[in-house]
Subunit: 146 residues, 2 copies
DNA sequence: ATTTATGCAAATCGTTTGCAAACCT
DNA sequence: AGGTTTGCAAACGATTTGCATAAAT
């Protein structure tokens, strides 16, 4: 739960793929630890030493390793956030339809459980092997409404 | 609820934007009536007379008019489906992580209502003016598992 | 005749990739 | 040295757009 353990976890996941935890990769994870889902430009703004292509390449690798999750809402840029497994919080997204900002939110435990059960039933009925689910709520954020 | 009424509805929504219901636009709506969410290539496959650029342009217009909804899950192609307002069914998406196919599904009424209430509370707490919500369930479809 | 829609081809832009230099160990 | 990572610049590909022609009213 503390920051160092996140890095250890990342390091282990990368090792599992035969990859090492380089300075650039660590820089990316460090930025993501302190922020919500970020676009690539937002990420580069916070770490000017990162080259665009390397950032893309490392984000893809980190996503492969299950460290980072890529989320695509509308057009423009994709956003990247630390995977739930690392943060330990299953969450959903509040997306501003105007500016695209994404905020992480959690459902009350009982609602989440009920939802999970329903989804499992529905997926099975449709012949799907269940994976993760994403709930995106679209609206207008306070800033865009001001 | 019958097919002709869908066309009337579309026509009205386009008129509301000062636009007319042309043959190409009708062709697109006709295809979408009989299918799940389609990508542009899939749409063109079903109507060879449609030019790619016109299809994109008309889909954008139809989306503007609230007739069509554009859904983006991963990379590759966006998918388009008739808006819920037209079909009258609030639904969610079962997405195959392997082939990208999307199937529409509905939650049991009580679960949907409980979820709606929770989301409203969460959005308000975060300063968001609530809009629509999308629930995407990812898994592997029967075909890809075969 | 004027306005709007169409379709081709070219432009756009986020993302990916080739390749040579820089970095490990 | 041998293998990996980096960063620049070029390539890619889905979508958008400019412009001249074809409908439609």
């Amino acid at each position: 739960m503390t920051v160092p353990s996140v890095h250890d976890d990342v390091s282990a996941r990368l090792a599992h793929l035969g990859q090492s935890y380089t300075a650039n990769r660590r820089a990316i994870v460090d930025v993501l630890i302190g922020a919500g889902p970020l676009t690539l430009p937002e990420l580069l703004d916070r770490r000017h030493e990162l080259a665009q292509s390397s950032a893309y390449r490392n984000l893809a690798l980190l996503a492969d390793a299950g460290v980072v999750r890529k989320i695509i809402h509308d057009s423009d840029h994709a956003r990247y956030e630390l995977d739930e497994d690392l943060t330990g919080h299953h969450h959903h997204h509040l997306v501003c339809s105007n500016c695209g900002t994404v905020v992480d939110v959690e459902l009350p435990g009982d609602v989440e459980r009920l939802l999970d059960r329903s989804l499992a039933a529905i997926a099975t009925a449709a012949g799907f092997a269940l994976g993760r689910h994403d709930l995106d709520v679209h609206g207008t954020c306070a800033t865009c409404r001001a």
